[in-house]
Protein backbone atom coordinates (compact mmCIF):
# COMPACT_ATOMS: atom_id res chain seq x y z
CA UNK A 1 0.00 0.00 0.00
CA UNK A 2 1.46 3.32 -0.92
CA UNK A 3 1.47 6.51 1.06
CA UNK A 4 -1.71 8.06 -0.24
CA UNK A 5 -3.81 4.96 0.45
CA UNK A 6 -2.47 4.75 3.99
CA UNK A 7 -3.28 8.40 4.38
CA UNK A 8 -6.82 7.76 3.20
CA UNK A 9 -7.28 5.04 5.80
CA UNK A 10 -5.91 7.24 8.58
CA UNK A 11 -8.14 10.15 7.61
CA UNK A 12 -11.16 7.88 7.22
CA UNK A 13 -10.62 6.63 10.72
CA UNK A 14 -10.14 10.03 12.28
CA UNK A 15 -12.66 12.27 10.55
CA UNK A 16 -15.27 9.81 9.24
CA UNK A 17 -15.74 11.61 5.91
CA UNK A 18 -19.01 11.26 4.01
CA UNK A 19 -17.04 10.50 0.93
CA UNK A 20 -13.39 9.92 0.19
CA UNK A 21 -11.93 8.88 -3.12
CA UNK A 22 -9.08 9.49 -5.56
CA UNK A 23 -10.06 11.79 -8.43
CA UNK A 24 -6.49 11.51 -9.69
CA UNK A 25 -3.46 9.44 -8.82
CA UNK A 26 -1.88 11.93 -6.47
CA UNK A 27 -5.03 13.61 -5.27
CA UNK A 28 -7.17 12.47 -2.39
CA UNK A 29 -10.54 14.08 -1.92
CA UNK A 30 -12.38 13.86 1.38
CA UNK A 31 -15.75 15.43 2.18
CA UNK A 32 -16.03 16.08 5.89
CA UNK A 33 -18.62 17.70 8.10
CA UNK A 34 -18.36 21.43 8.81
CA UNK A 35 -16.98 20.97 12.30
CA UNK A 36 -14.22 18.63 11.10
CA UNK A 37 -12.66 20.95 8.53
CA UNK A 38 -10.35 22.72 10.90
CA UNK A 39 -9.35 19.49 12.56
CA UNK A 40 -8.64 17.76 9.27
CA UNK A 41 -6.59 20.66 7.94
CA UNK A 42 -4.68 21.03 11.20
CA UNK A 43 -3.90 17.33 11.19
CA UNK A 44 -2.74 17.46 7.60
CA UNK A 45 -0.62 20.52 8.21
CA UNK A 46 0.99 19.73 11.54
CA UNK A 47 1.09 15.95 11.69
CA UNK A 48 1.25 14.77 8.10
CA UNK A 49 3.37 17.62 6.82
CA UNK A 50 1.13 19.16 4.20
CA UNK A 51 2.85 22.49 4.57
CA UNK A 52 1.72 24.15 1.40
CA UNK A 53 -1.74 25.54 0.99
CA UNK A 54 -2.69 25.43 -2.70
CA UNK A 55 -6.08 27.04 -2.87
CA UNK A 56 -9.56 27.47 -1.58
CA UNK A 57 -12.41 27.45 -4.02
CA UNK A 58 -16.15 27.35 -3.90
CA UNK A 59 -18.55 25.25 -5.93
CA UNK A 60 -22.16 26.24 -6.34
CA UNK A 61 -24.50 23.23 -6.18
CA UNK A 62 -27.60 25.17 -7.06
CA UNK A 63 -29.88 22.14 -7.37
CA UNK A 64 -28.94 20.82 -3.93
CA UNK A 65 -29.04 24.23 -2.32
CA UNK A 66 -25.42 23.93 -1.17
CA UNK A 67 -22.08 25.61 -1.55
CA UNK A 68 -19.05 23.36 -1.42
CA UNK A 69 -15.82 24.78 -0.07
CA UNK A 70 -12.71 23.01 -1.33
CA UNK A 71 -9.43 23.39 0.53
CA UNK A 72 -6.48 21.90 -1.32
CA UNK A 73 -3.16 21.26 0.40
CA UNK A 74 0.10 19.87 -0.95
CA UNK A 75 2.81 17.72 0.57
CA UNK A 76 6.14 18.90 -0.85
CA UNK A 77 8.07 15.71 -0.09
CA UNK A 78 5.48 13.05 -0.85
CA UNK A 79 4.13 15.00 -3.84
CA UNK A 80 0.55 14.42 -2.85
CA UNK A 81 -2.50 16.71 -2.84
CA UNK A 82 -5.41 16.45 -0.50
CA UNK A 83 -8.68 18.24 -1.13
CA UNK A 84 -10.74 18.76 2.00
CA UNK A 85 -14.30 19.54 1.06
CA UNK A 86 -17.30 20.58 3.03
CA UNK A 87 -20.86 21.50 2.19
CA UNK A 88 -22.56 24.59 3.59
CA UNK A 89 -26.05 25.91 3.21
CA UNK A 90 -26.72 28.06 0.19
CA UNK A 91 -29.30 30.15 1.99
CA UNK A 92 -27.42 32.55 4.22
CA UNK A 93 -24.04 30.85 3.70
CA UNK A 94 -21.62 31.08 6.58
CA UNK A 95 -18.41 29.40 7.57
CA UNK A 96 -15.66 30.06 10.06
CA UNK A 97 -12.55 31.71 8.73
CA UNK A 98 -9.35 29.68 8.77
CA UNK A 99 -7.03 32.59 8.01
CA UNK A 100 -4.96 31.88 11.09
CA UNK A 101 -3.74 28.57 9.65
CA UNK A 102 -2.43 29.95 6.38
CA UNK A 103 -2.22 33.69 5.82
CA UNK A 104 -3.14 33.41 2.15
CA UNK A 105 -6.58 32.16 3.10
CA UNK A 106 -7.40 35.80 3.88
CA UNK A 107 -7.33 36.58 0.19
CA UNK A 108 -9.16 33.46 -0.91
CA UNK A 109 -11.89 33.98 1.62
CA UNK A 110 -12.28 37.60 0.70
CA UNK A 111 -12.69 36.69 -2.93
CA UNK A 112 -15.25 33.99 -2.21
CA UNK A 113 -17.11 36.39 0.02
CA UNK A 114 -17.26 38.84 -2.84
CA UNK A 115 -18.00 36.44 -5.66
CA UNK A 116 -20.34 33.99 -3.89
CA UNK A 117 -21.46 35.85 -0.82
CA UNK A 118 -20.16 33.33 1.70
CA UNK A 119 -19.70 35.06 5.03
CA UNK A 120 -16.50 33.97 6.75
CA UNK A 121 -16.91 34.55 10.46
CA UNK A 122 -13.79 35.95 12.08
CA UNK A 123 -12.21 37.18 8.88
CA UNK A 124 -10.31 40.41 9.59
CA UNK A 125 -11.10 42.16 6.34
CA UNK A 126 -14.20 41.20 4.42
CA UNK A 127 -14.46 44.13 2.09
CA UNK A 128 -14.55 45.01 -1.57
CA UNK A 129 -11.75 43.25 -3.41
CA UNK A 130 -12.04 42.89 -7.17
CA UNK A 131 -15.38 44.44 -8.00
CA UNK A 132 -16.10 48.11 -7.57
CA UNK A 133 -19.40 49.47 -6.34
CA UNK A 134 -21.07 46.14 -6.76
CA UNK A 135 -24.66 45.98 -5.64
CA UNK A 136 -26.93 43.02 -5.88
CA UNK A 137 -26.27 39.34 -6.18
CA UNK A 138 -22.63 38.16 -6.14
CA UNK A 139 -21.80 37.54 -9.79
CA UNK A 140 -20.30 34.05 -9.60
CA UNK A 141 -23.42 32.41 -8.25
CA UNK A 142 -25.05 30.22 -10.80
CA UNK A 143 -28.44 31.86 -10.56
CA UNK A 144 -26.91 35.21 -11.46
CA UNK A 145 -28.20 35.86 -14.98
CA UNK A 146 -25.34 37.55 -16.82
CA UNK A 147 -27.26 38.17 -20.01
CA UNK A 148 -30.07 39.83 -18.13
CA UNK A 149 -27.57 41.96 -16.25
CA UNK A 150 -25.81 42.95 -19.47
CA UNK A 151 -29.08 43.90 -21.12
CA UNK A 152 -29.87 46.12 -18.20
CA UNK A 153 -26.51 47.79 -17.80
CA UNK A 154 -24.80 47.98 -21.17
CA UNK A 155 -25.66 49.00 -24.65
CA UNK A 156 -25.18 46.64 -27.54
CA UNK A 157 -23.74 47.62 -30.84
CA UNK A 158 -26.31 46.85 -33.50
CA UNK A 159 -25.33 44.33 -36.13
CA UNK A 160 -24.13 41.63 -33.83
CA UNK A 161 -27.36 39.68 -33.99
CA UNK A 162 -27.27 39.46 -37.78
CA UNK A 163 -23.91 37.80 -37.88
CA UNK A 164 -23.73 34.51 -39.57
CA UNK A 165 -22.27 31.60 -37.75
CA UNK A 166 -18.65 31.06 -38.76
CA UNK A 167 -19.42 27.37 -39.07
CA UNK A 168 -22.05 28.02 -41.77
CA UNK A 169 -19.90 30.52 -43.50
CA UNK A 170 -16.82 28.39 -43.78
CA UNK A 171 -18.88 25.21 -44.01
CA UNK A 172 -17.86 23.87 -47.38
CA UNK A 173 -14.25 24.85 -47.16
CA UNK A 174 -14.10 23.37 -43.70
CA UNK A 175 -15.63 20.08 -44.80
CA UNK A 176 -13.25 19.88 -47.70
CA UNK A 177 -10.31 20.52 -45.44
CA UNK A 178 -11.50 17.81 -43.10
CA UNK A 179 -11.85 15.30 -45.88
CA UNK A 180 -8.21 15.69 -46.75
Amino acid sequence: MNYIEELKQRLDGMFSPEKSYFPKDNLLSITVSNSNVRGALAHLKDVEGFKHFVMLSCVDWLEDGKFELVYIVWHPEKKVNVAVKTLIDRENPEFHSLHDMWRQLCTYEREIWEMYGVNFIGHPRLEEFILENWKGMPPMRRDFDTLHYVNEHYEWREGREENYKPRDYIGEAFDEWRRK
Binding site: L131, E132, N133, T146, V150, H153, Y154, W156, R157
Partner: protein, 185 residues
Protein backbone atom coordinates in the same frame (compact mmCIF):
# COMPACT_ATOMS: atom_id res chain seq x y z
CA UNK B 1 1.23 83.68 -37.09
CA UNK B 2 -0.56 83.73 -40.36
CA UNK B 3 -4.13 83.88 -39.08
CA UNK B 4 -5.87 84.48 -42.36
CA UNK B 5 -4.67 81.19 -43.68
CA UNK B 6 -4.63 78.75 -40.79
CA UNK B 7 -4.99 75.88 -43.18
CA UNK B 8 -1.34 75.99 -44.11
CA UNK B 9 -0.15 75.96 -40.52
CA UNK B 10 -2.58 73.27 -39.69
CA UNK B 11 -1.32 71.30 -42.63
CA UNK B 12 2.29 71.61 -41.54
CA UNK B 13 1.42 70.78 -37.96
CA UNK B 14 -0.54 67.73 -39.03
CA UNK B 15 2.30 66.59 -41.22
CA UNK B 16 4.63 66.80 -38.23
CA UNK B 17 2.18 65.13 -35.89
CA UNK B 18 1.69 62.30 -38.27
CA UNK B 19 5.36 61.42 -38.16
CA UNK B 20 5.88 61.49 -34.44
CA UNK B 21 3.20 59.55 -32.70
CA UNK B 22 4.13 58.64 -29.18
CA UNK B 23 2.22 55.72 -27.91
CA UNK B 24 0.81 54.98 -24.53
CA UNK B 25 -0.05 51.33 -24.69
CA UNK B 26 -2.42 50.59 -21.88
CA UNK B 27 -2.57 46.83 -21.69
CA UNK B 28 -6.09 46.14 -20.62
CA UNK B 29 -6.73 42.99 -22.62
CA UNK B 30 -5.03 40.19 -24.46
CA UNK B 31 -4.16 42.45 -27.40
CA UNK B 32 -1.38 43.94 -25.32
CA UNK B 33 0.76 40.96 -26.17
CA UNK B 34 0.88 42.04 -29.82
CA UNK B 35 2.43 45.38 -29.01
CA UNK B 36 5.93 44.25 -28.02
CA UNK B 37 6.54 42.57 -31.41
CA UNK B 38 5.09 45.62 -33.12
CA UNK B 39 7.48 47.91 -31.31
CA UNK B 40 10.58 45.76 -31.39
CA UNK B 41 12.88 44.71 -34.19
CA UNK B 42 10.60 42.22 -35.93
CA UNK B 43 8.06 44.79 -37.10
CA UNK B 44 9.89 47.88 -35.92
CA UNK B 45 7.11 50.40 -35.64
CA UNK B 46 9.61 53.16 -35.04
CA UNK B 47 10.07 53.47 -38.77
CA UNK B 48 6.60 55.01 -38.80
CA UNK B 49 7.59 57.48 -36.14
CA UNK B 50 5.98 55.47 -33.42
CA UNK B 51 7.55 55.10 -30.03
CA UNK B 52 6.55 54.42 -26.51
CA UNK B 53 5.82 57.19 -24.07
CA UNK B 54 6.34 56.86 -20.38
CA UNK B 55 3.38 58.82 -19.12
CA UNK B 56 0.01 59.95 -20.44
CA UNK B 57 1.16 63.54 -20.46
CA UNK B 58 3.81 62.79 -23.05
CA UNK B 59 1.70 60.57 -25.25
CA UNK B 60 -0.26 61.30 -28.41
CA UNK B 61 -1.86 57.96 -29.02
CA UNK B 62 -3.61 55.79 -26.48
CA UNK B 63 -3.79 52.19 -27.59
CA UNK B 64 -6.51 50.31 -25.82
CA UNK B 65 -5.65 46.71 -26.29
CA UNK B 66 -8.83 44.78 -25.90
CA UNK B 67 -11.65 44.31 -23.49
CA UNK B 68 -12.24 46.87 -20.83
CA UNK B 69 -13.67 45.91 -17.50
CA UNK B 70 -15.64 48.70 -15.94
CA UNK B 71 -12.88 48.96 -13.40
CA UNK B 72 -10.19 49.53 -16.00
CA UNK B 73 -12.49 51.80 -18.01
CA UNK B 74 -12.30 54.16 -15.09
CA UNK B 75 -8.51 54.22 -15.34
CA UNK B 76 -8.60 54.56 -19.09
CA UNK B 77 -10.85 57.61 -18.92
CA UNK B 78 -8.58 59.14 -16.36
CA UNK B 79 -5.54 58.42 -18.51
CA UNK B 80 -7.21 59.81 -21.59
CA UNK B 81 -8.13 62.99 -19.84
CA UNK B 82 -4.58 63.47 -18.66
CA UNK B 83 -3.21 63.39 -22.18
CA UNK B 84 -2.59 66.66 -23.94
CA UNK B 85 -3.95 67.67 -27.29
CA UNK B 86 -3.46 66.46 -29.98
CA UNK B 87 -4.45 63.02 -28.81
CA UNK B 88 -5.79 59.99 -30.55
CA UNK B 89 -7.25 56.68 -29.48
CA UNK B 90 -6.75 53.37 -31.18
CA UNK B 91 -9.04 50.55 -30.13
CA UNK B 92 -7.59 47.14 -30.74
CA UNK B 93 -9.60 44.00 -31.16
CA UNK B 94 -13.23 43.05 -31.43
CA UNK B 95 -13.79 43.40 -27.72
CA UNK B 96 -13.59 47.15 -28.00
CA UNK B 97 -15.94 47.16 -30.97
CA UNK B 98 -18.84 45.07 -29.71
CA UNK B 99 -17.73 43.17 -26.66
CA UNK B 100 -16.13 40.35 -28.61
CA UNK B 101 -16.28 37.08 -26.82
CA UNK B 102 -17.09 38.88 -23.59
CA UNK B 103 -20.44 39.86 -25.03
CA UNK B 104 -22.38 38.56 -22.01
CA UNK B 105 -19.85 39.32 -19.34
CA UNK B 106 -21.17 41.29 -16.41
CA UNK B 107 -18.18 43.56 -16.08
CA UNK B 108 -16.89 44.43 -19.54
CA UNK B 109 -18.22 47.25 -21.64
CA UNK B 110 -19.54 46.51 -25.10
CA UNK B 111 -19.06 49.78 -26.95
CA UNK B 112 -15.96 51.76 -26.27
CA UNK B 113 -16.99 54.81 -28.28
CA UNK B 114 -19.77 55.55 -25.84
CA UNK B 115 -17.21 56.47 -23.22
CA UNK B 116 -14.24 57.92 -25.05
CA UNK B 117 -13.91 58.95 -28.71
CA UNK B 118 -12.12 56.41 -30.86
CA UNK B 119 -10.18 57.51 -33.92
CA UNK B 120 -9.37 54.14 -35.37
CA UNK B 121 -10.57 50.64 -34.73
CA UNK B 122 -8.50 47.59 -35.56
CA UNK B 123 -10.66 44.51 -35.92
CA UNK B 124 -9.56 41.01 -35.10
CA UNK B 125 -9.22 38.76 -32.12
CA UNK B 126 -6.42 39.43 -31.58
CA UNK B 127 -5.10 41.67 -34.39
CA UNK B 128 -1.65 40.78 -35.61
CA UNK B 129 1.13 43.37 -35.69
CA UNK B 130 0.51 43.87 -39.41
CA UNK B 131 -3.04 44.87 -38.59
CA UNK B 132 -1.84 47.27 -35.94
CA UNK B 133 0.56 48.83 -38.42
CA UNK B 134 -2.26 49.09 -40.94
CA UNK B 135 -4.28 50.84 -38.29
CA UNK B 136 -1.43 53.22 -37.59
CA UNK B 137 -1.10 54.03 -41.27
CA UNK B 138 -4.78 54.80 -41.61
CA UNK B 139 -4.58 56.90 -38.48
CA UNK B 140 -1.69 58.80 -40.05
CA UNK B 141 -3.80 59.39 -43.12
CA UNK B 142 -6.63 60.72 -41.02
CA UNK B 143 -4.25 62.96 -39.10
CA UNK B 144 -2.87 64.35 -42.31
CA UNK B 145 -6.34 65.05 -43.65
CA UNK B 146 -7.25 66.65 -40.34
CA UNK B 147 -9.97 64.13 -39.65
CA UNK B 148 -8.64 62.65 -36.43
CA UNK B 149 -10.69 64.96 -34.28
CA UNK B 150 -11.57 62.66 -31.41
CA UNK B 151 -10.34 65.03 -28.72
CA UNK B 152 -12.40 67.87 -30.14
CA UNK B 153 -15.44 65.62 -30.25
CA UNK B 154 -14.87 64.71 -26.63
CA UNK B 155 -14.64 68.33 -25.61
CA UNK B 156 -17.74 69.31 -27.51
CA UNK B 157 -19.86 66.39 -26.34
CA UNK B 158 -18.49 66.16 -22.84
CA UNK B 159 -21.96 66.09 -21.29
CA UNK B 160 -22.95 63.11 -23.35
CA UNK B 161 -19.75 61.20 -22.63
CA UNK B 162 -19.95 61.95 -18.94
CA UNK B 163 -23.54 60.78 -18.86
CA UNK B 164 -22.58 57.46 -20.45
CA UNK B 165 -19.60 57.04 -18.17
CA UNK B 166 -21.71 57.73 -15.14
CA UNK B 167 -24.21 55.14 -16.26
CA UNK B 168 -21.72 52.28 -16.08
CA UNK B 169 -19.40 53.52 -13.38
CA UNK B 170 -21.86 54.86 -10.88
CA UNK B 171 -21.83 58.33 -9.41
CA UNK B 172 -18.61 58.43 -7.42
CA UNK B 173 -16.55 57.63 -10.45
CA UNK B 174 -13.92 60.23 -11.13
CA UNK B 175 -12.58 63.29 -9.45
CA UNK B 176 -13.66 66.37 -11.34
CA UNK B 177 -10.23 67.87 -11.58
CA UNK B 178 -9.10 65.54 -14.31
CA UNK B 179 -11.26 67.38 -16.79
CA UNK B 180 -13.03 70.31 -15.27
CA UNK B 181 -10.43 73.03 -15.35
CA UNK B 182 -9.80 76.16 -17.29
CA UNK B 183 -8.37 75.60 -20.70
CA UNK B 184 -9.95 72.29 -21.46
CA UNK B 185 -9.39 68.67 -21.03
Amino acid sequence: MCTDNPGVWEYIANWARKHSIWVLAYGTGCGAIELPPTMTSRYDAERFGLRGAATPRQADLLIISGYLATKSLKRVIRTYEQMYDPKYVMALGSCTINGGMYWDSYNTIKKLDLYIPVDVYVAGCMPRPEAIIQGIISLQKRIEEGKAEGAKKYRENIEWYKKNQREVLGDDFLPDYTWNFEGGI
